[in-house]
Every structure is written in C-alpha cells, then in structure tokens.
Amino acid sequence: MRLGLARRSLSMFPPILTRAYSVQPISRTSISPPPASLKPQTPLFLRPPTHSATISDLLKWQKWAKTLASSVGSHFTHLDDGPDTTLLHRELNWLLQDALENPKLPLSHVGTNEVVKLRAEMEDLYVLWKQRIEERRPFQYVVGCEHWRDLVLSVEEGVLIPRPETELIVDLVGGLVKENEELREGLWADLGTGSGALAIGIARILGPFGSVIATDLSPVAVAVASYNVQRYNLQDKIEIKLGSWFEPLKNVKGQFVGLVSNPPYIPSNHIRGLQAEVAKHEPRLALDGGSNGMDDLLHLCHGASSMLKRGGFFAFETNGEKQCKFLVDYMQKECDGSFCDVDIVSDFAGNKRFVTGFSGP
C-alpha cells in the first residue's frame, strides 16, 4: 500500500524527514484494515535528545533559516494566502524550541562553544526548514505536532491538521455539559476524528461516566488518533473505530447524547486553488466534500437523528454562511421535525461556521 511505502525508513528518525508526499485520496469504497507497519510518528518535541550541536552551529543554522524566511517576504501571501516572513520567523522559533532539549534556554546567554542537546540532527534541521519554505510543507508536519486548545496533538502526513476554528466546538460542548448531567455523563460521537482533536477535547470535559466513540475512514488518522488518545491517557474514555461515518456505530444507534463532526466540506473543484500547505500536503479525503462540499454534511444530517437520543446535541462545522444556511434550511424542511433549536454559530473571525441543535421536537 502506498502509505506504507511513504513511511519507509530513511535515517535514524526517518519520519521527520519524510518528504512531503501528497497523500493520495483513498477511495471511499476500499476500506482495508490498517497495515501493520502503520506506526504513528513521534513528534519532534517528544524525541529523545540524543543529538548535540555547539551553540555557534545552532546560531549559524538559525541565521541561515531566518534569511531564508526573510526572502519569502509576502510572496506566499500574495500567491495563495500563505505565510509571510513574520509568521515564518515565529515558526522558526517554535521549531528551535521543539528541537532543543531545554527550550527555555536563552541561546544568547550561553557561550558559543558550549554544546546543547538536540532532538534532531543538525543536518535534519536544515532539511526540515528547507521543506517548510521550498516545498511549503506545513509547519505542523515539520515538527510533527499541532498545538490545539491546551493540547499538543501529534500530526503527520495523511492526517488533517486541526484548525483553530474547530476549538470552538469544544467550548460549545463545554457550556452545555456544565449544566446538563445527562450530557456530561453520556456517550458522544466524533465522526471523522482525524488526529482525535475533538474527541480528546470533549473527553476531557466530560464527567467520570461520559465517553466518546470516534470514527474515521483513514487508517492513518485512526493510528494517529489512537496515539494521541494514549498520550493523554484517555484510552478508557475514547474508543477509535475505523470505518465510514455511522457504519462502525450500528450497534450503538440511538444511544448518543451528543454528536460532533468536522467533515470534509470543501467543494471538489476548489481544492486545487487552496494554499499550497493545504492543497499539496493535506489529505484530500479530509477536505473534499463533493461538488458543492455538502456531500458529507448532508449524509451526517440524515444519520444524526437516528443516532441521537431525544434531546441529544449535535454540532457540525461548515465552510461558511452558505453551507450553514443551506443546512439549517434542509433540516427544517426535509427532516420533518427531527431536530429543534437549530442555530448558526460564528467563529472568532466572524464567519458563520457551525450548525448546532438538538434532536427531537
């Protein structure tokens, strides 16, 4: 299988140097069990600090990397809304932090001949930064993690990097479970869990009896999500299942008190024009929502009412105002009264982003 090949060892810590393979979309019908070789990568900041470099070498690299980032200017921004120099400089600092054994160390205060411990080889740092700038490999794949809410989630090629907008779903759920014991102690679903972000974020705010089942069609996502669940020691609270949407949940139909999903919602023909970090590097399976981007959202809409208990909550992320309105309309007209209190919620950028509501009249 292609994915397995992409992960073949190249050096001591191969995955971090994995070239930015564009993961090919997995056909929706070919659900195969995860290959045995599917071992999630360890994010840079969790690797053992078995390498070392002198401060002066490190500073040299930093200077080189900074210059490379400076050469970008606002070129990427004009091109496709990509990162500008300021942002790249900030990312450079974070890369350094993740690579250093002791990230708090102010480099300027250490003698240049002193040696520091690193989590990657010096050469790797050069390669990684080149990938970031020249191939537009997403920063989060470069360091193997994404900071999301108060979590640090492992991510890698083949898994969507969770977005800041999505954090808000956890806040919405948080507001509800605080006041409602049934929701707090019940069973939740995160459909298309990717890195496991929503499932983990929600599991951490549920009560002692609350739990989450998360599903994904992508074996890489399932592997990475499981890894993240273990990192946060939530394996007793979160179950990860491989399969398409509701399919793996047949035996728990009607038992959910809550259902959240951030399904693929980008119209197919938009994908090519997206920012290089997204279009060239993130999995198409995670983005492509069909011709108008609504395929999966509508599918979820249909299934939701039979999955949820009466009074159960749902929240879907959408592409924006158009999809929100369409969905609300659809629910009110086509789903004859299976939902109530349907609402549109905006994100911090002011975009109408989420459709929320409850099951049952």
Partner: protein, 540 residues
C-alpha cells in the same frame, strides 16, 4: 530544649526572639543583592546554644541590675503591644510600667525603675531632636513604648549623637550602632513609617468593627493588609530592639570586664550592620504590588523605522535585564514594523519583585544617534514609551469580568478560514466592551492559549485601570501606555556625537550605553527607587 525551658522560666527572653528571625532578602533576585554572603533564612547569627546561654546570663545580670530589668520590661511590653493591644499588658507584673504609652523621656532616666505615668506627650524626647519628638507624638497616640537602652539611649538618640561611622572592619560599637541607626532611619522613611502607622490604626479600627465580616471579601482584604503592614512594622521594631540590647550587652560587658560577651556582642552588631543594608534595599520594595510579576509594554513613537528600531532595542534591553535576573520572559504580543523593529510589544516578566523593579522604567525613553536607516546618516532623535502593569497575585482583588462583556476577534483574519487555510497564526484580540480596553496575544501556539494569555493581559489592564481609579486610596499605581504623555521623558540614551545614558529624574548617568542596552539597568532602577522614596525627609 534548653531555649524553651528558659523561655518558660524567664519571660524576658521574649525580647530576644525576634533576632532569630532572619528573613531571606530578595528572593529570586540574587544579582541586586549587594553582599554575596547572605545567610539563608533560618541560619541564626547566634547559635542556639550561645543564645540560650546568653539569656541565662542576662537573667542573672538582670537580678543584679534593676535599670536593665526595667529595660527588658520595656522591651517586653513593646513586643507585646500591638498597635491596639497595649492594654493587654499583665496588670500584676509587680513592676511599674508606663501606662500612658509614651516613650521614656531620656532626661528623666536616672537608673531607677519608676517612671511617672503622666509624662506629657510633647515634652518627651524634646531634647533628642525634631524627629524624635515627632515620633514621640505619634507613638504617644499609638501608645507604643519607644525602646531604649538601660541608660535611656534610643535609636533616635543614636542618630542625634552623630557618631562617626568607620569601615565595618573597625571594631567600634558606636560606629556600628550609628550605621545601623541610620539604616533604620532609611528603612522607616522608605516604609513611609508615619503613613504606615496611620494606615495601621485605620485598619485596626476597621478590624474591630463588629460588622466587618458582613463583607467577607473586603474583610479578607483588610485583614491581609493589616497583617502584612503589622509584620513589616514589627520587624523594624524588633530590629531596633535588638540594636539596643546589643548596646546594653556591650556596656554591661565592659562594666563586668567580660571580654567574651563583649566580642560576642560586637560580632552581633556587625551582623546587624550588614543585614541592615539588605533591609534598606528590601524596604525599597514595600509597595502593595511590588512583589508581583508584571507585563512590560513598549510602544514606538512617531518617526517610522528608526523609532520602531528603537522600540525593539528598548524591549530587548528589558528582555535581557529580566533574563539576567532569572525572571521568566514571554512575548505576549508583538506588532513588528514593516522594515525593522516593532510598533509595539508586550512581554510578561515572571518572578518575585519583577513589578517592584520594573515600575521604575515607566515613561518615555529617548534615543539620539545616527540612524542606520538614514542613507545620509543624519542624527535622529526617537522616542519609545514604556508601561508596566502588575499582575496581581491575589485573585480576590481582581476586577470581575463578565464573559458577556467581551468580544473576541481573530486577528488578521480574512478569507474563508476553516479547512481552506492552514496557518500557525491564531492570534485573538479581546475587547472589553464597557471600557473599550483591548488585549491581544499572538505568540502562543494555539488559539485557545492566545485567548487565555490575552485574557491575563486584559485582566491586568482592567485591574490597573481600577487601581488608577482608586489612586487616592491606593497611593501607588503606574500609568498605562495610553496615559503616558510623550512629554514625560525619563531617560536619554545618546550614541552620537558622544556616548552616555542619563536618567532625567535622578541625573544618574553612565558613559557606556552598550551595557545599558544589554540590560544592565539595575543602577538606574535602584537610584530612581531610592530617590523617589528618600526625598521625604520625615517618614511621611
């Protein structure tokens, strides 16, 4: 334990106890500490054995020396008398004690233990100079007893004697005593001794009110402040007391020709002299919020890239200063200039007394140099404004923020967002709608953390606003960036045509701008703090 046994047997040992308390000075701020040889707290200047043997000796001395025993009683009473509890003195102690609470008039002391009760407040201490009589009046109303040696020497008396102060190495008790008395003088001034006492009296009165705990938050605040001011006052008093005791001991040792006791006491005086210097520094940071962490904000003045570059130099100076002192430094908010430098930035400085020191930097900093951004290399003058905001540790003093009063915006947002965009930029700006105060953070790696971090900035800004509102009650507050007028210059940095940095408030100057810009600003801070506190001559 022997010491405890002596305590039980001999109530006079009470007066010795305060000396065992050696508070560690400047936690988290080793570099400012003038002497490297500071003892860790708990390391008693007098070993326990020696202490107790001293106490035993004293008690035997006391029985032979009535004037000394009166002194000890004075010490006992002053250590027992809290601002409002002088009447708690035992009534059956068998010795005459001043009931009026006025201190012992120096000219009245004849070695007898009886002192008239009706001594006029205004006559007492009149021969010891104005300061003393001022104190006399105050203590009179406070009903505290001015401590003195057996022959009536008080700390003010020592000051008035103006004994020459020699080097520490000189074994001269008068010199040591004089140096210590001067330090006590400085400390009292820095603590604003008189206001402290007035405030304590006011707080005590409030604490005595029966309905105090109807408002538990306010009550907690009052009792905390009372406690902290009280301990501050007691510490100084105990220090005074200790000085006088050692002087008594030295005199006694001379009378008795006891070389051991004399050298013991001389050593103790020297110890005191050294720790007095530390206490002076410590007293400089006795403001309500001085021990807090803080935010430092720098904003570039008009003048384009040159001035934005200057702002980033100033910010770098503070970062390096903070790092030198082992403070944690985090960039919270930074708006870079188009070509170089910063338009504005906020850093968080974490550690004890960060605010106490950094507050000395508030104001406008001016740079004169040939600009590297000017192709003609002309001389430019630029300005940066610096604001410092304390991060209140005591959450009960925080201004309450209603979630519904907040508007949260994604910074630099545009376009479709969501799955369309992959960016590590997740800055948010929080606006407190009722006040219009905003805060933003973009240097955290998640939106959630940026929001949390911006919230702490917003909280501190609102707290500062509230403090400004209460400025009359709450004497000290530093200005926010918006309040600082560009006319309010505090320091000039000249790199060309000559080189110097000069503080316009203190006239303190140095000729090495590079080291200053690398964070070596302690001497500026200290000279400002001491000048600000020391100009009040009479402890007001």
């Amino acid at each position: 334990m022997q010491l405890e046994a002596t305590n039980v047997l001999n109530p006079f040992s009470v007066v010795v106890l305060p000396t065992t308390k050696a508070r560690s000075v400047f936690p988290g701020f080793p570099l400012l500490n003038p002497s490297a040889s500071i003892k860790p707290s708990g390391d008693n200047p007098l070993p326990l054995q020696k202490m107790s043997s001293l106490i035993l000796r004293r008690s035997s001395l006391l029985s032979r020396n009535p004037s000394l025993s009166r002194h000890f009683l004075t010490g006992l009473s002053s250590s027992l008398s809290k601002a409002h509890s002088h009447h708690l003195l035992p009534s059956n102690h068998g010795l005459k004690v001043l009931a009026s609470g006025c201190h012992f008039p120096a000219n009245n002391i004849t070695g007898s233990s009886s002192v008239s009760v009706g001594t006029s407040k205004f006559s007492c201490g009149s021969q010891l100079g104005i300061i003393n009589s001022l104190c006399g009046r105050l203590f009179g109303s406070q009903a505290a007893v001015e401590p003195s040696t057996s022959d009536g020497l008080t700390v003010e008396g020592i000051l008035a004697n103006q004994w020459t102060i020699f080097e520490e190495s000189e074994s001269d008790w008068k010199s040591h005593a004089s140096a210590i008395a001067q330090s006590i003088h400085v400390i009292k001034r820095r603590l604003q001794w008189k206001s402290l006492i007035v405030r304590l009296e006011m707080l005590s009165a409030q604490l005595d009110k029966p309905d105090l705990w109807d408002d538990p938050v306010r009550a907690g605040k009052i009792s905390r402040e009372h406690g902290s001011l009280m301990s501050r006052m007691k510490e100084v008093k105990a220090f005074e007391q200790e000085l006088l005791e050692h002087i008594d001991m030295i005199k006694l040792a001379r009378e008795e020709d006891d070389a051991d006791l004399q050298s013991e006491s001389m050593k103790a005086l020297l110890e005191m002299r050294r720790s007095a210097k530390e206490k002076e520094l410590e007293a400089m940071l006795s403001g309500e919020h001085d021990s807090c962490s803080c935010f430092i904000e720098v904003q570039a003045g008009a003048g384009g890239t040159e001035s934005m570059d200057w702002a980033s130099m100033v910010m770098k100076m503070y970062k390096m200063w903070a790092q030198r002192h082992g403070y944690g430094v985090t960039i919270v908010d930074e708006m870079p200039g188009e070509i170089a430098g910063i338009k504005r930035a906020t850093i968080k400085v974490d550690g004890e007394y960060a605010y106490g020191y950094a507050k000395a930097e508030v104001g406008v900093h001016r740079l004169v140099r040939c600009s590297p951004f000017d192709s003609a290399k002309r001389r430019h003058t630029s300005f940066s404004a610096v604001a410092v905001i304390p991060i209140l540790g005591d959450t009960s003093t925080h201004v309450q923020i209603n979630e519904s009063d907040l508007r949260i915006d994604r910074f630099r947002a545009g376009g479709a967002g969501g799955q369309h965009v992959n960016t590590t930029e997740s800055a948010v700006r929080i606006t407190h709608i009722p006040t219009g105060v905003t805060a933003s953070c973009q240097n955290e790696r998640s939106q959630h953390q940026n929001k949390a971090s911006a919230m702490t900035v917003l909280q501190a800004r609102l707290d500062q606003l509230e403090m400004a509102r209460q400025a009359q009650m709450n004497a000290q507050h530093t200005q926010s960036l918006t309040e600082i007028s560009w006319g309010n210059q505090i320091r000039t940095y000249v790199l060309h045509p000559y080189r110097m940095v000069k503080d316009l408030r203190t006239n303190y100057e140095v000729s090495d701008p590079d080291s200053v810009l690398e964070g070596d600003i302690d001497s500026f801070i200290l000279s400002f703090l001491s000048s600000a506190l020391d100009k009040d001559e009479d402890y007001s």
